[in-house]
C-alpha cells in the first residue's frame, strides 16, 4: 500500500468522528513518523478545515513534527516538581551527551512528581535521575 492510500485509510477510519483531528494526527505520526505538509493538506481537506488550522494544531503539540526525525528521543520532564528537584542542572550534560545523534525533548509532567527528575524514552519512564544516570540513558538511547 502506498503512502497516499495509507493516509486515506487513516482519515477514513476516523471519518464522521467528533474531533477527529487529533486521533488522525496521532495515527499519521505513528505510521509515517511525522505529519508532512502534503498530508496536512489532505487532512484539512477531509475535515473541512484550513491548512493553517491543521498546521496550528501540529505546532501546538510537541509530539507532532512536519519532517521525520529518525534520531532517538529522550524526553526530559521540565515541569515544576522536576524543576524543584533539580532537572535544570542536568540539561547541559544531557545535551552534551546527546550531541547530534539523540534528540532531547521537553515534556511537562510525567505524573511521577515525587520521584523526579524524570525522563521518558519510548514507553519507558525513568525516575530519580542524576547526571550520571541521565548521561548513561542518553548514551544508550
Amino acid at each position: 500500500m502506498d503512502d497516499s492510500a495509507r493516509l486515506a485509510e487513516i482519515i477514513a477510519a476516523h471519518a464522521g468522528e467528533e474531533g477527529a483531528l487529533l486521533p488522525i494526527l496521532h495515527d499519521v505520526r505513528a505510521a509515517f513518523g511525522c505529519i508532512a505538509r502534503a498530508a496536512q493538506a489532505d487532512i484539512a481537506q477531509a475535515l473541512n478545515l484550513s491548512r493553517a488550522e491543521v498546521h496550528g494544531v501540529i505546532g501546538f503539540y510537541h509530539d507532532f513534527t512536519e519532517t521525520p526525525d529518525p534520531r532517538p528521543l529522550v524526553e526530559l520532564c521540565r515541569a515544576e516538581a522536576c524543576q524543584a528537584r533539580g532537572v535544570e542542572a542536568l540539561v547541559a550534560a544531557a545535551e552534551r551527551a546527546a550531541g547530534a545523534r539523540v534528540r532531547i525533548g521537553k515534556v511537562w509532567c510525567l505524573g511521577l512528581c515525587s520521584v523526579g527528575p524524570n525522563a521518558r524514552i519510548g514507553d519507558d519512564v525513568h525516575a530519580r535521575l542524576d547526571e550520571a544516570r541521565l548521561v548513561a540513558l542518553v548514551a544508550g538511547a
Partner: protein
C-alpha cells in the same frame, strides 16, 4: 457631513461589536449614568460614554477574546478585576475604569508586552497610528522592569511576499486579532497561532502569505493594532493626512472605503466601518488594486484620426470634441438620427450614465442607447419586472443573516462578490443550510467550515429544467405556501403555473436525463428549501447569460413566491450584479426601450415629462440594442457610436461579429481610461477619469445609492460627466450642469423611485436604497413588504409566469463534444483592464482552461499544456488546468486577459427575451496545441498597429 475631507484620524473603535437588543440596561461608569442595549460589553459602554478603556486584543469588528488582560475594571459587588471586553453590562452595575489598583495591573501587563517589542517607535511606519503606543500612553508606561535583554522575537524575519502588505513578526504582540479577523470576518481561516507559550507566533499555516490560503482581503491588516501587519504603502509613503469616504468601483457589492491620502497621493484604501454594504470589510480588488488609476498606459490627452489604419494624433479637447461633433452632425445629416447611438457603462456613475442616454435621446435624436448590462443582467430586468413589477433585487445584504436556507444558483460569490460571500459564510457557520446549483464545484460547495447540503451539478444550460423540477416537487408534495399566494399573488396565473409544473414531464426523474442531476438529490434540495422558515435565493451571471436567462429569472421568482419567501428579512430574490453600477446603469434608462425608472419609451405620459424638462421631442420607438447596432452597421444604416467606459470588443460575444460591426462604422468615439481593445476601431479617443477623480453615485446590487467622491484631481483634467457635457455642447446642446449633484437633481425630478435622492441627503445619511419616494421617504432595505409593485395592468400582486424549458440551439456533437462555460476569479475583474494593471496579476497571470481529468487524458493533455479551444465561431489557445471541479464533458475558463480572447469562441446565441448573450454555454473541442491561434497572432498584430500614436509634430 462626509463631503469635506476629514483630517486623518483612525476610525472609531468601540472595542466590541454592537449589541442589538430591545432591552435597555442602565449602569454607571466612573459615576456617569448611561443606558445601552443589553448584551453590550462594559468596554463598549465605556467607549460610548466617551471614556476609552485601554485594550489590545479587542476591536469592534471581532467577538471579544479576553486574552490581553489590559482592559481590567472594577465592578461593585464583583470579586477581582474582570476584563471589560468580555463582561456584559447589567442593570444597576457600577463600574470603575481608573483606580490605583487597575493602573498597577495594567502597567504590569503592558511591561510584559513591551519587553518583547522593539523600541524603535520613531522610525516605525505605524508611529502615531499604533494602538500599542496608544495603550502604553494610556497606562502611563514609563519603564520596563524586565529589561529588554530577555528572550525575544526581535530578529524574526519579515514576510513581504504579498504585494500589498507585509508581516513583521518582531512587531507582533500575538493578540490574535488577525487570526480572528481572517476567521470571523473574512472566513478564510488562513492564519493560525503556531507554537505555544512564548514560542507562539502568527503564521499563515507555515507558508509565506503569498503561498498560503490567504486571499489578500486585508481584514487582518485592518485588525492589527501595531505595524506587524501593515500596508506596504504606509512604509513607502508615510502616514496619511486626510481621508475621503468613497465607494469601490469594482463589483456590485459596493463597499464603502476611506481613501486616505497625503496631499494628492493616495496612501491606502481602508474599508469604511460605517459602510452599510460592507461594514468595514473589503476584498483584494477594492482594498489594494487601485494602482491602475495612475498606470503608465493611462491616456490623458484626447486623440483623433481620420481612419483607423492611421496612427493616433494627440490634440486638445476642443479639437477632439469639434472633430467628433462635426462627424456626428455630418452622419446625422446624411443618414438620419437612427444612424447614431451610444453605449453607457455600468462602471460609470449614475449621473454619467444618465447624461449619456440623454445625449443619445435628446441630442442624437434616436433611442439607440444600450449598456453593457445587456451582456450580464438584462434578463434580471425583464424577469423581475414580469413577476414582481420592478427590476431589482428584493433585499439588502444584511438580510442574509436572517436566512435559514440559501440557494445559490449560477453565482460564485467567493470569487465575484467576495465581501457578500464573507457574510454568507458567517451565516452558514451559524447553521443556515446551503444549496448550490452550478455546473462547477465552486468554493462554497466545500471550503473550511462551510459545506453545501446539496450541490446540484447540472449540465450547463439546464437551469430552467432544474428549477421547474424543484417547483414540481414543492407543488406535488404540498410544500407550497398557500397563504402567501392567496394574499399576495394573482390566483389564475398561479394555478396555470402549478398545473404546468405538476406535469409528470417536469418531475426530477423525467428531467434528470437533460439536467444530469440525480432525482433524489434534487428532491431533497427542493424539500430543504421549502421546509425552512426563511429561504433566500442568490443568483449571478450563470443564470442570466443563457438563451433561457429571462426564463430562469422568472423561474426563480416563481419559486420564491410559491414558498412565500418575499417581503421580509432573510428571504428574497437577489441578483448579484457583476460590475459596480449595473443596477444604476439599468435604473438610469440605459436600455433602448425604457427611460429611467423602467418606464417604457412608448408611454406618452412619461415621455411628455422628459420632453418638457429637456425641451425636445423624443422618439417613441424602442432603439437598437448592441447586437442590433452591430448588424445595422454592417448593412450601412448605423454609422456612429459613442462608447463610454466599455470595451465591447473584449466583453461582448463573438468577437469577429463585433469587430466587423465596428470596422463598418464611420465614427466610433471611445471614452475610457485606456486604449482598450475597442479603441482599435475608434476615430476619437476621449480620455476618461477614474472613480478616484470624480463625484457622483453608484447603486449596488441591493439598490443602495452611495456617493463616489473626488479624491484627487482628474489626470485628464475633466470628470467624465464634464466630457459628455462638453460633447453635447459641441453638438449645439445648451447643457449647463455645474456639478454632478445638479444631474442627480434632474434624475430625482424625472424618476419617481429616486424622488427623494440628492447628493445632499447622501452626504448626510451615507446611503439610500431606492425606492425613495413619498411612500418610502427613507428608502427601502426590503422590497415588496406589503405588496408587489403595481404594474400598468396589475394591482400590485405577484405574477407567476410559466417558464417552459426551451433548450439552447447550441448543442454538442461529434465536432464539438464539450460544453464551455465561463466565469471570473477573485483577483481579476471583468475584462481585466484595471486589475491587470496592478499587482493582482501575481494571482492570475493568464486565463486557464479547467478540464476534467478523464477529458484531459483522452486528449493527451496534462496540467499546464497549451490547448486549442475551438467552437464553430472561432478558436483560441490557452493552458489547461486539470481538475475535478468541472464535470466530465464540461470545460471552464475566465475571460480576464485579452490575449486569450475567450469570446472569439463564444457564439451569438442569446437570451430569447433580452438578447443577453449565451456566454455560459458553447459547444467546443479541445485539442493539444503548440502555439497561439492564427486569430491571436493577427489580433496582436492589429492591436499593435491600431495603438500607434504619432510622435508630437
Amino acid at each position: 457631513m462626509l463631503t469635506e475631507p476629514q483630517p486623518y484620524a483612525p476610525q472609531a473603535d468601540f472595542g466590541t461589536p454592537e449589541a442589538v437588543s430591545e432591552t435597555m440596561v442602565a449602569l454607571t461608569i466612573d459615576g456617569r449614568r448611561l443606558t445601552v442595549p443589553a448584551g453590550t460589553s462594559v468596554m463598549r459602554a465605556a467607549a460610548l460614554a466617551g471614556g476609552a478603556i485601554p485594550r489590545l486584543c479587542a476591536t469592534d469588528s471581532l467577538a471579544a477574546f479576553g486574552s490581553c488582560r489590559l482592559c481590567l475594571v472594577e465592578i461593585d459587588g464583583m470579586k477581582g478585576t474582570p476584563a471589560s471586553c468580555t463582561t456584559p453590562v447589567a442593570e444597576g452595575m457600577a463600574v470603575r475604569t481608573q483606580t490605583p489598583r487597575l493602573q498597577r495591573l495594567r502597567r504590569g501587563v503592558m511591561e510584559l508586552t513591551i519587553s518583547d517589542h522593539p523600541l524603535d517607535c520613531l522610525t516605525c511606519s505605524a508611529s502615531n497610528d499604533c494602538e500599542l503606543q496608544d495603550a502604553a500612553a494610556q497606562v502611563g508606561l514609563r519603564d520596563v522592569r524586565y529589561g529588554y535583554a530577555g528572550a525575544n522575537h526581535l530578529d524574526a524575519a519579515a514576510d513581504a511576499s504579498n504585494p500589498y502588505f507585509a508581516f513583521d513578526p518582531a512587531k507582533c504582540i500575538v493578540c490574535s486579532r488577525c487570526v480572528r479577523a481572517c476567521d470571523e470576518v473574512q472566513g478564510t481561516f488562513a492564519l493560525t497561532i503556531a507554537g505555544r507559550g512564548f514560542d507562539s507566533q502568527v503564521s499563515p499555516g507555515g507558508e509565506s502569505f503569498l503561498g498560503s490560503e490567504c486571499v489578500s482581503c486585508g481584514a487582518c491588516v485592518a485588525a492589527c493594532p501595531t505595524a506587524a501587519l501593515e500596508e506596504k504603502s504606509i512604509a513607502a509613503i508615510g502616514k496619511p493626512e486626510r481621508a475621503v469616504i468613497t465607494t469601490c468601483a469594482y463589483c456590485g457589492v459596493g463597499c464603502a472605503f476611506r481613501a486616505e491620502l497625503r496631499g494628492e497621493q493616495l496612501v491606502r484604501m481602508v474599508p469604511w466601518k460605517d459602510g452599510k454594504a460592507n461594514h468595514g470589510h473589503s476584498c483584494v480588488k477594492g482594498r489594494f488594486a487601485w494602482g491602475y488609476a495612475h498606470h503608465r498606459d493611462r491616456i490623458t490627452t484626447p486623440m483623433i484620426r481620420e481612419r483607423i489604419d492611421q496612427p493616433w494624433r494627440e490634440v486638445g479637447w476642443d479639437e477632439a470634441l469639434g472633430f467628433a461633433a462635426a462627424r456626428l452632425k455630418e452622419i446625422k445629416a446624411r443618414h438620419g438620427a437612427q444612424a447614431l447611438g451610444g453605449i453607457t457603462s455600468s462602471r460609470c456613475t449614475n449621473e454619467e450614465t444618465f447624461l449619456v442616454q440623454k445625449l443619445v435621446r435628446a441630442g442624437f435624436g434616436s433611442n439607440n442607447v444600450d449598456t453593457c448590462a445587456r451582456v450580464c443582467h438584462s434578463p434580471t430586468g425583464y424577469g423581475l419586472k414580469a413577476t414582481f413589477g420592478t427590476s431589482a433585487g428584493t433585499q439588502d445584504f444584511d438580510s442574509v443573516m436572517a436566512a435559514d436556507v440559501i440557494l445559490v444558483i449560477g453565482a460564485n460569490p467567493t470569487d465575484a462578490h467576495p465581501v457578500f460571500a464573507s457574510r454568507l459564510k458567517q451565516r452558514l457557520r451559524q447553521g443556515a443550510k446551503l444549496i448550490v446549483v452550478d455546473p462547477r464545484r465552486i468554493d462554497l460547495v466545500r471550503s473550511p467550515h462551510v459545506a453545501a447540503a446539496h450541490h446540484l451539478a447540472l449540465q450547463p444550460g439546464t437551469n430552467v429544467a432544474v428549477l421547474t423540477a424543484m417547483a414540481h416537487v414543492i407543488v406535488t408534495e404540498g410544500l407550497v405556501d398557500e397563504g402567501f399566494i392567496a394574499a399576495r399573488c394573482e390566483r389564475d396565473e398561479y394555478q396555470d403555473w402549478a398545473r404546468f409544473v405538476c406535469e409528470p414531464r417536469h418531475s426530477p426523474e423525467a428531467l434528470a436525463a437533460v439536467t444530469r442531476v440525480p432525482a433524489g438529490d434534487l428532491r431533497a434540495a427542493a424539500r430543504l428549501f421549502a421546509s425552512q422558515r426563511n429561504g433566500a435565493i442568490y443568483y449571478g451571471l450563470g443564470v442570466t447569460e443563457h438563451s433561457q436567462g429571462s426564463s430562469t429569472v422568472m423561474a426563480i421568482a416563481n419559486l420564491a413566491m410559491a414558498t412565500g419567501n418575499i417581503g421580509r428579512a432573510g428571504v428574497g430574490v437577489n441578483p448579484l450584479r457583476g460590475q459596480n453600477n449595473v443596477q444604476g446603469a439599468c435604473d438610469m434608462g440605459s436600455f433602448p426601450h425604457e427611460l429611467s425608472g423602467y418606464r417604457h419609451i412608448s408611454d406618452g405620459a412619461t415621455r411628455a415629462l422628459f420632453e418638457k424638462d429637456w425641451g425636445v421631442a423624443l422618439d417613441p420607438d424602442p432603439g437598437l440594442r448592441i447586437p442590433d447596432m452591430l448588424d445595422a452597421a454592417r448593412d450601412g444604416s448605423f454609422r456612429a457610436l459613442y462608447i463610454q467606459g466599455e470595451d465591447i470588443l473584449q466583453s461582448d460575444p463573438d468577437t469577429h461579429h463585433v469587430a466587423a460591426g465596428l470596422a463598418a462604422m464611420e465614427c466610433v468615439i471611445v471614452h475610457d481610461l485606456f486604449l482598450n481593445e475597442t479603441a482599435s476601431y475608434a476615430h476619437v479617443f476621449l480620455p476618461g477619469s477614474s472613480f478616484l477623480e470624480k463625484t457622483g453615485t453608484f447603486t449596488n446590487a441591493e439598490r443602495r445609492i452611495q456617493m463616489v467622491r473626488r479624491v484627487m484631481t482628474p489626470a485628464n483634467g475633466l470628470e467624465d460627466w464634464e466630457v459628455t457635457q462638453a460633447l453635447a455642447r459641441a453638438l449645439g446642446l445648451d447643457w449647463r450642469y455645474d456639478s454632478s449633484a445638479a444631474i442627480m437633481d434632474e434624475i430625482a425630478r424625472l424618476t419617481p423611485s429616486f424622488a427623494g435622492v440628492s447628493h445632499e441627503r447622501l452626504d448626510a445619511e451615507g446611503s439610500l436604497q431606492w425606492p425613495v419616494d413619498a411612500a418610502h421617504p427613507d428608502g427601502s432595505p426590503v422590497m415588496h413588504v406589503d405588496g408587489f409593485v403595481p404594474g400598468p395592468n396589475g394591482k400590485g400582486r405577484g405574477k407567476f409566469v410559466v417558464t417552459d424549458y426551451i433548450p439552447t440551439d447550441e448543442r454538442t456533437g461529434l465536432r464539438f463534444p464539450l460544453l464551455l462555460t465561463t466565469g471570473r476569479i477573485l483577483s481579476q475583474y471583468n475584462v481585466g483592464a484595471q486589475t491587470r494593471r496592478t499587482d493582482n496579476s501575481i494571482w492570475h497571470e493568464e486565463d486557464l482552461l479547467e478540464i476534467h481529468p478523464t477529458d484531459a487524458e483522452s486528449r493527451g493533455l496534462a496540467e499546464g499544456d497549451r490547448a486549442r479551444l475551438a467552437s464553430r465561431t472561432g478558436e483560441t489557445t490557452l493552458r489547461v488546468h486539470v481538475t475535478e471541479r468541472v464535470a466530465p464533458g464540461v470545460v471552464y475558463t475566465t475571460f480576464h486577459h485579452p490575449a486569450t480572447q475567450a469570446n472569439v469562441v463564444t457564439t451569438d446565441y442569446s437570451d430569447w427575451a433580452t438578447n443577453c448573450p449565451e456566454y455560459k454555454v458553447t459547444a467546443v473541442q479541445v485539442t493539444p496545441s503548440n502555439g497561439p491561434s492564427a486569430w491571436q497572432e493577427d489580433y496582436a498584430d492589429l492591436t499593435a498597429r491600431a495603438r500607434r500614436i504619432a510622435p508630437a509634430a
